[in-house]
């Protein structure tokens, strides 16, 4: 009976994690060995099915049946009803052991914060909040995650976050809106590392447009020869002009440029596109066209990276 001690330990472990108590009567060592393997497989399968990370990941990806969510959550000691925010962390260079250690210690298990790796580059931090936490506090926590990882792991990271949600059933929705925030934020916002689900601006709309519609729109604005990118000097001038609410005098002053030079440049744009940027409607069309152009350009660049 050489497998008795291992069998005893395996049965004890099975009882601990499932509550099921099995009695075993084996006649030979080979039967004992087979039983031991089967019990170990059972333990592994049970752990996989009832592993917190797996469970939360299946909820996020909407691949878990919804009828027993609360029951399964209860078995895993995860509260089914609690105000939470989902932070989606993106690490361009990939997560490493140091980062995982830092996050584990930043959010120890007592804090009921769950860390769920999604891909090599992304990780979800599911953090309990207070129902009355403000947007500012939620954002502050996102900045704290970014800054701490910058300081401690010396890596560049980006974080998107969801609204406060209360039920585990809402996790899939929160994950979707946060994934969208991360994608749109990375495409349209530069120099920022924190993206809020509710501050995506017009990028949210452009991101959802099919490429052929984007291209049709650009052809409408720029004609058949749509430029890949705009001339840098022209971009600077137009950006400043839009920032200054189409005020020629102020823009010319800030750019140290004669107002007639500025007007000449704006007329050049009008010649090329038919859009007179001194008029609000045309300026708005141009602004959106530039965003669409940059979106396609960035998509193209990232496609080839």
């Amino acid at each position: 009976m050489e497998y008795q001690p291992q069998l005893k330990a395996a049965l004890k472990e099975l009882k601990r994690i499932t509550g099921i108590e099995l009695c075993l009567s084996a006649c030979s060592s080979s039967e004992e060995e087979a039983a031991l393997n089967q019990i170990r497989c059972l333990i592994t399968a049970y752990k996989e099915k009832y592993n917190k990370t797996q469970f939360l990941l299946s909820l996020m990806t909407d691949s878990a049946p919804s009828y027993d969510i609360n029951e399964r959550a209860g078995r895993l000691h995860i509260s089914a009803e609690e105000p939470r925010v989902l932070y989606l962390l993106h690490v361009p260079g990939g997560m490493d052991e140091t980062m995982t250690e830092i996050l584990k210690h930043l959010f120890p298990s007592q804090t009921k914060t769950y860390l769920v790796p999604v891909t090599e580059n992304t990780l979800v931090i599911l953090k309990p909040m207070h129902a009355d936490d403000t947007d500012e506090e939620i954002q502050q926590a996102a900045h704290a995650i970014v800054d701490t990882l910058n300081m401690e792991a010396l890596v560049s990271v980006q974080v998107a976050y969801s609204r406060i949600f209360y039920q585990l059933q809402e996790l899939a929705g929160a994950f979707q809106e946060t994934s969208l925030a991360l994608k749109v934020g990375r495409l349209f916002t530069f120099g920022e590392n924190v993206f809020a689900y509710n501050k995506l601006g017009i990028g949210r709309l452009i991101y959802r447009l099919p490429h052929n519609i984007c291209k049709d729109f650009l052809t409408e604005v720029f004609g058949p020869e749509v430029p890949d990118t705009l001339d840098e000097e022209m971009t600077t001038i137009i950006d400043r002009f839009l920032q200054n609410n189409l005020n020629i005098a102020e823009t010319a002053r800030q750019l140290h440029m004669h107002r007639n030079t500025l007007i000449y440049r704006l007329e050049q744009v009008e010649k090329q596109t038919g859009l007179d940027l001194r008029h609000f409607e045309d300026a708005m069309t141009f602004k959106i066209a530039v965003m669409v152009l940059n979106y396609l350009q960035t998509e193209r660049t990232s496609h080839y990276e």
């Binding site: 830092i102 210690h105 930043l106 300081m151």
Partner: protein
């Protein structure tokens, strides 16, 4: 510690936005360099490029003579302290400071030595067993600094580390950081939008706007000889007063006309106006609030630089008084002695200290006289 060289550094994002343009700076060993400017001026982006957290689009970054453009942040021998740091809640102060070294598998006795040394410098040695919850805001900030110090880096990079502290604590921490610089003999690059922090901490200040370096100089020189209107307005609190003035050159005499007031330009300033052909042109006159005097003796001695107005607001700050008034539609501030008898609504006479005026070209906004 280390010297840094930034040559022609550029940051351009894929959407064409040029965040930092042709940034050039040589930083000597043990310098305390401040990047200051309004929000969005590119100061944090530049710091993040030095840290390696942002790619450099163009130019060369060297630390101690070695090109660092493509070197990973962890291999640059730097340490950072940012605004939104978080401490490990269940760890003691000691463990918070030691954790980074443990992750890097530094031997225990070496960790202990470094942590205790840093704790001593930061006056945290009696708090090493405490957990973050039991610390004040300032103590937590010092622990965050400690985590950077124990790395013993060549360069410290700090991005608005005091922004989340209240005003009183900020003043206290400013002094601590200044002492730290002295004790460590460290090369520090510090980003802030607060010009008081910049003036009190930096050995040299880099003033930035729209991704472009405006001026690099010592705090005193920035204050006394700003190179353009932006720097003049940004450095100093309350900010410098600006008025449009028409230059009148009559032989060897140069005057400035501001509405009904005529001010005589002193000899040391007038040549630049004559040489620059400013006769009949409008320039911007800048004068700091402390150079606007209400003292009768000063007014009597400077009769050719007198302005009159009605006091709109009297603000007593204890050691000084700010008087707000209009001159030809432009709001001005005078910083005067608290013994002044002037009050809100009074007709007042002031004399400008013309030796301290700054004159700027209205079109280019560059200084004419400095």
């Amino acid at each position: 510690m280390a010297s840094l060289s930034l040559r022609g550094i550029d940051k351009k994002y894929p959407n064409g936005f040029h965040a930092v343009k042709d940034f050039n700076l040589e930083i000597d060993d043990k310098e305390f360099i401040i990047f200051v400017g309004p929000s969005g001026c590119g100061k944090s982006t530049t710091l993040r490029m030095i840290a390696g957290l942002e790619d450099i689009s163009g130019g060369t970054l060297e630390i101690d003579g070695k090109v660092m453009n493509d070197v990973e942040p962890k291999d640059r021998d730097i340490a950072m302290v940012f605004q939104n740091y978080a401490l490990y809640p269940h760890m003691t102060v000691y463990d918070n400071m030691a954790f980074g070294l443990k992750l890097r598998k530094v031997p225990k006795d070496e960790i202990d030595k470094k942590v205790r040394e840093a704790a001593k410098i930061l006056d945290l040695d009696k708090l090493l067993d405490r957990k973050p919850k039991a610390l004040s805001g300032g103590q937590r900030q010092r622990v965050a600094m400690g985590r950077a110090i124990v790395r013993n880096p060549k360069v410290f990079l700090m991005d608005e580390p005091l922004s989340n502290l209240d005003a009183k604590l900020r003043v206290q921490m400013r002094i601590e950081i200044s002492k730290l610089h002295e004790n460590l003999g460290a090369t520090i690059i510090y980003v802030t939008h607060d010009q008081t922090e910049a003036m009190t901490l930096g050995t040299r200040i880099v003033v930035m706007k729209d991704g472009v370096v405006q001026q690099v100089d010592t705090p005193q020189n920035l204050y006394n000889t700003p190179c353009n209107l932006f720097v003049a307005g940004f450095i100093g609190s309350p900010q410098m007063n600006f008025m449009d003035a028409v230059v009148n050159v009559a032989g060897n005499d140069v005057t400035l006309k501001i509405g009904k007031h005529t001010l005589t330009v002193p000899a040391e300033k007038k040549q630049a106006l004559i040489d620059g052909n400013y006769n009949g042109k409008t320039v911007v006159l800048g004068i700091r609030p402390e150079d606007v005097h209400d003292d009768p003796d000063f007014i009597a001695a400077n009769a050719s630089s007198v302005i009159t107005s009605k006091i709109k607001v009297y603000e007593l700050l204890g050691a000084e008084v700010f008087l707000y008034f209009d001159v030809e539609g432009t709001q001005m501030t005078a910083r005067v002695n608290p013994r002044t008898t002037l009050r809100t609504g009074d007709d007042a006479t002031f004399a400008l200290d013309m030796s301290r005026i700054h004159l700027f070209d209205k079109e280019t906004e560059l200084t004419i006289t400095n």
